[in-house]
Amino acid sequence: MSAEELQIVWFTARVATLSTVLILPFGVAVAWLLARRDWYGKSVVETLVALPLVMPPVATGLVLLKLLGRRGPLGGFLHEHFGFDIVFTWRGVMVATAAMSFPLLVRAARIAFQGVNPRLEQIASTLGASYARVFFTITLPLAARGIVAGALLAFSRALGEFGATIMVAGNIPGKTQTISLSIYSLVQLGHDREAFRLLIVSVVIAFVVVWGSELFYRRRDRA
């Protein structure tokens, strides 16, 4: 692989990892709320979280572009007060991949939490544990495997993201070009062989990650 290809793969892996790490605490919190609590407007939140999974990725990307562009409510604020941009930068890639992989993480984590017997949490309570202690010593450890599997799935989704990424971050070689975007560009230019090389890399990565995720699920079931 050439230096450029290595840079693209490395960039994609880094951004996908960062995006997954960032959505992890937020996704776990939302998943727990959806699994264990009922509140007014819960179904709205459920729907919003599921939207990026169901909407066309470019549509999600368009929404993000409008929000995060220099004239958008959030992007404008950041540009004026902090002087940084999200659109056309690696941050845009991260936001796009985070948005698209978030629902996958929440879905998996929610199922993991729902699989924890609430009786165990109740007993922990009778033994004097605070809500935080119950969560960190009982709920989270028992849901951990499912959450990790969900994180791996979210990571692999982030690796392969295209539609939202190209909308929000553009396709700038060396700056925001991920593996998927690069394959697209190479095909446009007629460089099919290079495109194929990257395609294989992306398949191998996806295979390893999903396989790892399956292993985690299976270990959880056996335990």
């Binding site: 017997n117 009786r119 165990l120 109740q122 007993i123 922990a124 309570s125 009778t126 033994l127 004097g128 544990a129 605070s130 010593t137 009982i138 450890p141 028992l142 335990a223």
Partner: protein, 236 residues
């Protein structure tokens, strides 16, 4: 013990649980057939369920008082709970399960109490095992020990022997009696088995379809025989 359940009302699936009773014995039974609402009584006392209305008082201190908006959180009630299946934490060893509710400070007293409880329930050689590898009887004893080690003011037991076969029931019952006699912790014991009531309890509350129909000493309410039957004096 000194446990008061006043004007308790909790709507359940098919009927409402309504109670008004005061427990003064050492071990009080809540007796009734399956689905009578017995587990819900324990959940209310432990603060795991919230009644429509109730005033629940333990040793003079109000745990729940819907009229005044009082509801002490479960973790502050100091009430131990041994549920039907033991509910041991599967990801922790027996030792860590046992230590979960024990107070951190006071190592000296802690260690000897730890040893004492393990002796009484004879679970000393189980401490390094995992809950999944324990038998039904072993799980119940560990669950009981775990609750005892949190130094509860009241112990709730939800049909602890229900899942065990008759020989095992006969084997475990002495442990319960030992707990009663050695640790002198007041207990509320839920069961549908009259034998257990006769063997362990000095007070029994009979409920059916959520309503209490009798409250008194087991001897007054059960005919004594090899297979005790609950018989209502003066008919229904």
């Amino acid at each position: 013990m000194n446990l008061r359940l006043q004007n308790v009302r909790l709507p359940l699936a098919h009927f409402a649980l309504e109670l008004d009773a005061e427990f003064t014995g050492q071990v009080a039974a809540v007796f009734g057939s399956s689905g009578a609402g017995k587990t819900s009584v324990l959940d209310l006392i432990a603060g795991l369920r919230h009644p429509q209305s109730a005033r629940i008082e333990l040793d003079g201190r109000a745990l729940t008082d819907t009229a005044r908006g009082v509801c002490v959180p479960t973790r502050q009630r100091g009430i131990g709970y041994v549920p039907q299946d033991g509910a041991l934490f599967p990801h922790l060893s027996v030792r860590h399960n046992l230590h979960y509710g024990a107070p951190r400070h006071g190592e000296g007293g802690g260690k000897s109490k730890f040893g004492h409880v393990l002796d009484v329930l004879e679970i000393g050689d189980l401490v390094n095992r995992r809950p999944q590898s324990l038998s039904g009887g072993e799980k119940q004893r560990v669950a009981l020990a775990r609750a005892l080690l949190s130094s509860p003011r009241l112990l709730l037991l939800d049909e602890p022997l229900a899942a065990l076969d008759q020989p095992l029931k006969l084997k475990i019952m002495p442990y319960l009696q030992r707990v009663r006699d050695e640790f002198r912790v007041p207990m509320i014991y839920v069961t549908h088995n009259a034998n257990e009531v006769m063997a362990l309890c000095d007070e029994v509350l009979v409920i059916e379809q959520g309503k209490q129909i009798r409250h008194g000493a087991p001897g007054d309410l059960f005919t004594v025989s090899d297979d005790p039957q609950f018989v209502l004096r003066n008919g229904r």
